[in-house]
Amino acid sequence: MTTDDTCSTLPPESQKSFDNLLCLDINIHYENFRLALKQDIPLTGITGIFGHSGSGKSTLLRAIAGLEPKTQGQITLANKPLLNSNGALVLKSEQRGVGLVFQNSRLFPHLSVMKNLNFASKRCKNSTLTLNEIIELTGLTPLLNTPVTALSGGQQQRVALARAILAEPQLLLLDEPLSALDQQSKAQLLNLITTIQQRLSLPILYVSHSLDELQQVCDNLLVLTNNTAIMTKKSANEHSAFFGNIHHMIHQLTQRQYQAIDSTVQGNIIQPQTSLALPILSTNNGHGLAVISLQKQQILLPSSQLVFAEKITAERLVGQPLRCFILASDISICLTEPHNSSIVNQLQGTINNIKKDNTKVLLSIDCDAQEFFVSISAYSQNKLALKQGQSVFLQFKASAVRTFLN
């Protein structure tokens, strides 16, 4: 059970290992709203926070940033206590070393772009980042003297992001940063967020109601539902089940759709799907299709789906992992190898598991050690009489392989 403990409950000598953790044990109570959460989050990479509206995603970020005065409990960031209601410690927002980018950039309208950035860098005590470095990284050079009110939504968010980074936080929180943007600006900003995370090794918590978005950039995922994080339920298994690797979590959520036993999962929180991160073999096979590889088999998808990483040349994309997903409803099953089909993707695999709902069946299929989810009707299941351990062929169109751009 030691892995379950938060750092606050441990003796000081064993706190070394929590250098790299955000420890949350909080309770926020309003008239019609309650968020109770106990979770340690590793301070590495990008952690997505997912859940439908009203699940408390934004409130959680605001609590970490010190903007929710009614927060009870404990928050510890890399051994630095931010909140401890027992010890009556409440660190003010300006002392937490936590950056927050809001949904609506919240730039200071009386200052130019440059002065908005200066506002942050002037108040930063460490100043290991140079202003110019960040301006270049975020591509703001041509906009520096523009009044912020003249910027487009995407430009505003880039300034907000640069401004947040220049305060040199230990942890950066992003609250639906793309929600007000058009599709192209979304892709650009998402790309920028990944670049920033990697260049500065800045841990990021990323709140969104869009799983596509999170699937593209997050390493880990925390799922909140029904005002209470699922994993705060008693058992340790459930605890670990709702925080973890992004692909794993998406698969967990997909499976949960077919076991309506858990009342904390309300309705269809996601579309059942297979989440993949596979190396790119070729960006264009000459027919406008890109190729990504499983161990022995290959998957084809439209090259246009790769536009996401637009700044990188095609050659440099080869070997890089591509994050994509395939909806379970977009894959069909064939008992024999289909030879005469326009459908380009045909994978051989073994049925691992069969989950039944009233009208639908979810198959979990192992193809080269990668788990795929296929949803078929109960009618088809009857007809084909699929069994666990059976070898089958999966079929899906190239266009069924989607990235965030879709």
């Binding site: 940033a65 950056g99 919240r106 200071f108 309208p109 009386h110 942050a120 009110t149």
Partner: protein
């Protein structure tokens, strides 16, 4: 020998200037507190602040006259502290003016603070700005026009005060004899030529001041604050 009207003008400017400074110092935190307040008592405080707008100045003047007299505690304390009587002094008319002009300073500021909201202040806080830092570098620049409005209205209203001053200040040249009182004196003495001169100069200077206030508030009215900082 100094022109008595010129002396009245100087007294008026001193009184109004000092009153405006005191009002900005006291009124700003009060307006801030009211803008952020959610308690039920907010309406009570707001009503008290707004009272001078509807109360006949003589009512306020009457109660102040009693309070400032040496028989009552405020007057007594003042006399002990300064050795001078409070009623019928320059200090009395400044205190009276502060109370009388309070809503003209507090209300525009409160409205501006409410309109500004918390969004940009939260953004400032997560960037490492403390409360005073946020006030001077976010609130003040964004509510500058309202501060100018508040100061101008407070000043102009104090210059135009009559009833309260007559009650608690009387008519002591160089001490409590302000322009409005001087004008009244000229009329009483049937010196209409001098009365005209004072009246028209007060009218024109008030007109100029108010036009300037409206001009300042005209062009951009914080339109930008809302478009960038507004929530959802």
């Amino acid at each position: 020998m100094q022109n008595p009207d010129l002396q009245a003008l100087i007294t008026t400017l001193q009184m109004a200037g000092l009153t405006t400074v005191i009002l900005l110092i006291l009124g700003t935190p009060l307006a801030w507190y009211l803008a952020k307040m959610t308690s039920r008592f907010k309406v009570v405080i707001e009503a008290v602040v707004a009272l001078p707008l509807v109360l006949p100045p003589t009512v306020l003047g009457f109660y102040l006259l009693i309070a400032f007299s040496p028989e009552y505690l405020p007057g007594q304390l003042w006399q002990q502290a300064t050795g001078q009587q409070l009623a019928f002094s320059f200090s009395a008319i400044v205190i009276g003016s502060v109370l009388y002009s309070l809503p003209f300073v507090v209300q525009p500021l409160q409205k501006a603070f409410e309109q500004l909201g918390d969004n940009l202040l939260e953004a400032g806080a997560v960037l490492g700005a403390g409360p005073f830092d946020r006030f001077f570098h976010i609130v003040l620049p964004l509510t500058k026009a309202s501060f100018i409005t508040a100061a101008s209205l407070g000043f102009a209203h104090t210059v135009g005060e009559f009833g309260v001053i007559l009650m608690i200040g009387g008519n002591i040249p160089g001490e409590t004899r302000v322009l409005s009182i001087a004008l009244f004196d000229h009329v009483e003495a049937f010196d209409y030529a001098k009365a005209h001169l004072l009246a028209i100069s007060l009218l024109i200077s008030s007109m100029i001041l108010l036009s300037a206030v409206y001009l300042i508030n005209l062009p951009k009215k914080h339109r930008n604050v809302n478009s960038v900082g507004a929530d959802k």
